[in-house]
C-alpha cells in the first residue's frame, strides 16, 4: 500500500482535507481464474464474457450454457477438462454454486484437481 500526502498548494486551508490511499496489485490475466458462474440476471452475460476471453485468453476457456437454475452459463478453463470429464466437473460446480449464489451473481472459482495414483508392481 502506498500513502500519498497532498503537496502544499494542492489543497486549501479551510480545514477540509482528503486522504488518498492507493492499493497497487497485479492485474490477473485471465481475470476469471478457473471457473466463472454467470447468473441469469447478472450484470454481464455469456456473450460479453466470450468476447472478453477471446481477447484476453484465446482458446483457454469454454463457455457452457445452462438451461435451468440460477446460472445462465459456466466458463471452464480447458485444462481442467483434461483431468476430469466436463459433465462431472459441471455437475459438481453447479451443485455447490447453487447453494451460495443467486441469479444476479457472477462467481469466480478456483478449482484444484489433484490426482492420487497408487500403482502396485511385482517385485
Amino acid at each position: 500500500m502506498v500513502l500519498l500526502s497532498l503537496k502544499p498548494g494542492n489543497y486549501s486551508d479551510t480545514g477540509r482535507k482528503a486522504q488518498i490511499s492507493i492499493v497497487l496489485s497485479e492485474f490477473e490475466i485471465p481475470p476469471i481464474q478457473d471457473v466463472l458462474l454467470i447468473g441469469r440476471r447478472a450484470p454481464i452475460g455469456p456473450e460479453a464474457v466470450q468476447r472478453m476471453i477471446d481477447v484476453l485468453s484465446p482458446e483457454q476457456y469454454e463457455i457452457l450454457r445452462v438451461n435451468e437454475g440460477p446460472f445462465e452459463a459456466v466458463v471452464i478453463r480447458n485444462s481442467l477438462s483434461q483431468l476430469i470429464t466436463r459433465e462431472k466437473l459441471l455437475s459438481i460446480i453447479l451443485e455447490e454454486g447453487c447453494k451460495v449464489a443467486s441469479e444476479t451473481a457472477v462467481l469466480k472459482a478456483q478449482v484444484n484437481i489433484v490426482l492420487n495414483i497408487n500403482v502396485e508392481v511385482d517385485l
Partner: protein, 279 residues
C-alpha cells in the same frame, strides 16, 4: 398488390451487438419504440425488445439480451403475408429485408391499419380499389386476367320492401359466400360498390364463367334456404390478353375490363340469364 415496402418505416433505428442494454433502453424511450433490430457488420443478427430490456441488467451488452432467431420479411411480401406471420408467431414488429440488407421495419399495427383501409367493413371483403390494384399486378406479371362483375338483382326493391338492415344482411351473405369460395388463391373477390361485387382471376374466361355460374347458384340456394332470397347476375370480361397491348396503361386496361364486365352483367339482368361474356 400492397407490399410490405409500401407501409414499412425507414430509415430504421438499430442497435449494435456491443451496445449496452441501458443505452438501448434510453433510445427506445427517446423514440417511443418497442424494439430495435440488432446489426453486426450491417448484417441483421437479432432483435431486442422492451421486454428483453426490462428483464436484463442494464450493464449487459445487447448480444446478451437480444433474441437471436429473428423472424423477418422480404420487402416485396404482401401485407396479408405479413399479417399471417404476425398472428402465427405472435410478434409485434418485423424487420424488413432486401436480400440480406435491412431496409425497414413494420409493426403489427401498421399492417392492421393499412389492411383495414382496404377492407369493406360490411362484408369483410377487399375494397374495389384494392382489387383494381391487384388486377394491375396480375397484368404487370404477364398473367391472364379475367374480371367477373356481380350485381344483385332488384336490390333497390329489396331495400324498399324489407328495409336497409335486411338489405345489409343480404350483402353480408353474398360477401360471405364469395369469401368461402375463393380461398384457393385463384379468385380474388371484393365489394365494388353498393350491391356490386367484383372478382378477378388468372383463370381463362370460360373457366371463370363456369365458376361464376356455380357461385350464383350457391348464393341463390343459400339465401333462399335462409329466407332471404337474393338473385345475382354476372358479367365476365378479359381472359384473352396475356400481354398488355403496347402503349396501354395498366390501370386503363383494368378499367376497360371492369367496364366491359359491368355492361355484360347488365345484359345478364336484361336477358334474365346468370352470366354474360363480354365480346
Amino acid at each position: 398488390m400492397l407490399k410490405v415496402s409500401d407501409v414499412m418505416s425507414f430509415p430504421v433505428i438499430t442497435a449494435g451487438m456491443l451496445d449496452s442494454v441501458g443505452k438501448v433502453a434510453t433510445v427506445m424511450e427517446k423514440y417511443k419504440i418497442g424494439g430495435l433490430p440488432v446489426l453486426e457488420k450491417e448484417k441483421l443478427c437479432g432483435i431486442i425488445t422492451s421486454r428483453d430490456v426490462r428483464r436484463t441488467h442494464p450493464n449487459r451488452i445487447v448480444a446478451d439480451a437480444m433474441s437471436k432467431n429473428v423472424v423477418h420479411i422480404n420487402k416485396d411480401a404482401s401485407l396479408w403475408e405479413a399479417k399471417s406471420i404476425f398472428e402465427e408467431k405472435k410478434l409485434e414488429r418485423l424487420p424488413v429485408l432486401d436480400g440480406c440488407k435491412l431496409v425497414g421495419i413494420i409493426t403489427k399495427s401498421d399492417i392492421l391499419v393499412e389492411i383495414g383501409r382496404h377492407t369493406d367493413p360490411l362484408t369483410g371483403l377487399k375494397t374495389g380499389s384494392y382489387i383494381r390494384s391487384l388486377a394491375e399486378d396480375i397484368l404487370r406479371n404477364k398473367n391472364e386476367l379475367t374480371v367477373i362483375f356481380f350485381d344483385v338483382n332488384g336490390f333497390g326493391l329489396i331495400n324498399k320492401t324489407h328495409g336497409h338492415v335486411y338489405g345489409d344482411h343480404c350483402l353480408k351473405m353474398v360477401g360471405q359466400i364469395l369469401a368461402e369460395n375463393t380461398s384457393d388463391g385463384l379468385y380474388f373477390p371484393g365489394r365494388y360498390a353498393g350491391d356490386e361485387f367484383i372478382v378477378v382471376t388468372t383463370e381463362k374466361k370460360d373457366n371463370a364463367g363456369l365458376w361464376a355460374k356455380e357461385i350464383i347458384k350457391k348464393i341463390s340456394d343459400t339465401t333462399r334456404r335462409k329466407g332471404m332470397p337474393v338473385n345475382i347476375a354476372a358479367g365476365v370480361a378479359g381472359g384473352r390478353r396475356k400481354d398488355v397491348r403496347a402503349g396501354t396503361h395498366l390501370s386503363a386496361t383494368v378499367d376497360n375490363l371492369i367496364n366491359l364486365a359491368s355492361l355484360a352483367s347488365t345484359l345478364s339482368k336484361q336477358n334474365r340469364v346468370p352470366v354474360t361474356f363480354s365480346n
